[in-house]
Amino acid sequence: MADDTVVITEDLDSYYLQMMDSITDYAVIRLDSAGTVRSWHAGAQRLTQYTATEIIGRPVALFSTMADVATGLAEANLRAAALSGRQETEGWRLRKDGTQFWASVVLTAVRNRAEQVVGFGMVVRDLTALREQSLTLRGLEQLVNSIADFEVIRFDCDGLVRSWNPGAQKLTGYASEEVIGHHISMFYTEDDARSDLLDREMASADRDGSVEAEGWRIRKDGTRFWANIVLSPIRDDHHNVVGYVKVARDLTERREQDQLVQQQRDEILELSTPVIQVWDKVLILPLIGTLNSARAARLTESLLQRIAADQAEVVILDISGVPGIDSGVAQHLLETAEAARLMGTASILSGVRPDTAQSMVHLGIELGDLHSRASLKDALQLALRLVEARSGSGDGVRA
């Protein structure tokens, strides 16, 4: 060993002793050929709690657990090291107080010039914390891998995919070896990729801690799916962003359902606000059922469009099918009539029942100069007279 060691001209033993004492994270121990401890230092004491006087001269099996003593593990390791020159193991070892630590043990056989094993060098390291970490990591990995319906992936700050899970494979059709190391924009539509969507998402994730988005993404086979995405930055101990976790799921079906529901709602609204042309330049809007704001807005809109399209002069708002007129409904009707008037069209209210007339007056509903008739027939007659008058030849009736 000393043969090819250079430079040291001073006391070699003291040099080594100093060096050994400075090692505190490892136990570096010399054993004789029988496995008896022959050297000790501060790091070894820190790890096992034994002092040099307590341990030197004792067998290395002192560190073994009861179970390992029973199977003769220490001796077996020594034999293996003697045979192959080096034996590396991991396992539980005992401290002086009986507590255990997870040790990495490297045994190296030391031979004399006659190639006989004269002892062993033993390097022991406490890996308890590391083992915990790696177990936690493995647990997390298994957790992520067990998520089949969500894509849970990691990518670095350059946008390169670093981890992949079965959910991601199910969602996109790509196997992990096809995507790891590739840029994440491979799942984006051309427009999104061109508009630097990822940069914007990463920036807002950095700023807000996470960002949620929805949009089209592309599968391996080129088809699209509507994805809900949550992007969160991964930060190191110094708070620097070192990558991102992306959780995505397929909302295509839900989106289609939502759209279908919306479409049906629109159709129902359309059906519930029919505008009928009964005569040249005369429209009837038969109101049926309760009138809420959404319906009233829709109704006004479709009525005005029909007025423009049909060049209508008079509109009859028939409320005989409306169960009750409260101030809200009356307000809607008056607004509709006023909007129609702005387009130059007169409105006539029809189908006012006696009880409705009473309650309207009791409620203090003011119709202004809106014409009102009890029956649709009377309203229609008035409408025809108004049209005639407006065409210029009439008797001067003003709308």
Binding site: A308, Q311, A339, L342, G392, G396
Partner: protein, 124 residues
Amino acid sequence: MRMGHDLLVTLQGDLDDVRVESVERLVTSEVARTHARGALIDVSGLDVVDSFVAQILVRLVRMVGLLGTDMAIVGIRPAVAITLVELGVNMQDVTTALDAQQGMARLRRMRADSTAGIDHDHHY
């Protein structure tokens, strides 16, 4: 601009404070100069008709009314009508019509005699 019994004013583009003033000046002076019996303002060409523009129109109608001329606003589109009602703009006293043709009929009916026609279109 030449005068007739009726006047058609077509507003186009965007109305700002400066333009409003010159529109008011021009319309009133033209109405007075031509002794027009009626005037139509076509707003279908305006980019925006909001409460500001609506107040201007109401003002115009009053000014022209002081000169003894009837005025009607034509060409209010459905979306504009809804907006004006939602904004609560009071245009109760303003005569309206769907288009210029309907507006002319309306003006004629408002007058005792109905002999006038459009002599000139003033595009603004």
